[in-house]
């Protein structure tokens, strides 16, 4: 697969959030403001790329040689969990404002399906290491695109009077649905 196709596919066509249903929790959770959305995107991109590289190596260097494919889930998640905790500890020290902004969601990156999902998909798709990096980075960009667009709409909805019963989560989900509906237009682009 050429890199361009990987990029377009991961960002638009098979957008991780809007068509793959991964990472919905942070998508709904940290999208109230554009600025936190941007921060989250950064954090996810960072973690995702590193996690993909590390899990890729674990798979190729440890699991495959020993025929331990069934340990994929557990070893990947262990690696990711440790990694996220590292990022958290470092971030707390290096950039307290970003740490504050991401709040509870930083530990939840661990439980952000995108990271594990992408790590597993990379193996399933049988990509090589460079492709894996491109794939994970563009998936993260796709996540960011969806998240920031969504945050923009939600910020705008803050300014209008949404009916009481729909305020908050319901309307956010409707917006996500309509965004997904729109993104279906990209079908077949690759």
């Amino acid at each position: 697969m050429s890199y361009i196709l990987i990029v377009i596919s991961a960002i638009f066509v098979n957008n991780i959030v809007l068509s793959q249903f991964l990472g919905i929790c942070p998508f709904l959770g940290v999208s109230k403001k554009i600025s936190t959305g941007v921060g989250m995107t950064g954090a996810v991109t960072f973690v995702m790329v590193i996690a993909t590289i590390v899990t890729y190596l674990v798979q190729k260097l440890v699991l495959d040689p020993f025929g331990l494919a069934y340990l994929q889930t557990i070893s990947f998640i262990l690696v990711i969990a440790a990694l996220v905790q590292l990022v958290e500890i470092i971030l707390k020290k290096v950039s307290p404002p970003l740490y504050q902004a991401l709040g509870v969601f930083l530990p939840l990156i661990t439980t952000n399906c995108t990271i594990l999902g992408v790590a597993i998909m990379t193996i399933q798709k049988d990509l090589n290491l460079v492709e894996a990096v491109v794939f994970s980075a563009s998936t993260a960009v796709g996540f960011g695109l969806a998240l920031i667009t969504f945050a923009g709409i939600r910020e705008q909805l803050e300014l209008v009077d949404v009916p009481k019963g729909m305020r908050g989560t319901p309307i956010a989900l409707i917006v996500a649905g309509l965004l997904a509906l729109a993104f279906m237009g990209f079908a077949g682009l690759v």
Binding site: Y70, L71, I74, L78, A187, G188
Partner: protein, 211 residues
Amino acid sequence: MAKTESTLKNMVLTLLVITVIAGASLGFVYKLTKEPIALAKLNKQQTAIKEVVPGFNNNPGEEVLELTSKEGFNIKVFPARKDGELIGVAIETMTNTGFGGDVKIMVGLKPDGTIINYQVLEHKETPGLGTKMDVWFKTDKGHQSVLGKHPEKNNLTVSKDGGEVDAITAATISSRAFLKAVRVAYDTYTENSGKIASAQNSQPTAEGGVQ
């Protein structure tokens, strides 16, 4: 309640203990389910082959041939024999021209190439449209069915392209992809028919067994 402190020793020890226990239980369950999983996989393949080429009594999985079509697709050919006699082949074939990308089907051909039956293995077509291919081309209605047709003797393209097969309503693209996959299977089969016949005596490939 006295929490264990976060010293290096404690941390390493705890994680070690937990992972060791986890490893032990996983290894154990793995051993337990290894057989059933393999069986389930084999079953799936056998059932699929049985559906498209009924009546064999060998283990086609053991005799599988891995081929590459002209278009560069990986094609698997499972020879089906009854008492050593080749009664047909089940071909795992594909195209990449579906509405949602790859379409993978298993098609059963008589030795002369006539279509016995097919089964759709994998696709990403739209539910309600392209997905209808799993029964559409078996249904005896209008000019839908391809069963009993021969890719060479019949013009197996959609009527829109001048062929004799009715496309799935509003899913011409999927229909074309389906028919194309059949064609790929047939072409690959005829090109390699010699190999297939001779494969009878060859060693079962590694792929043939359970993974």
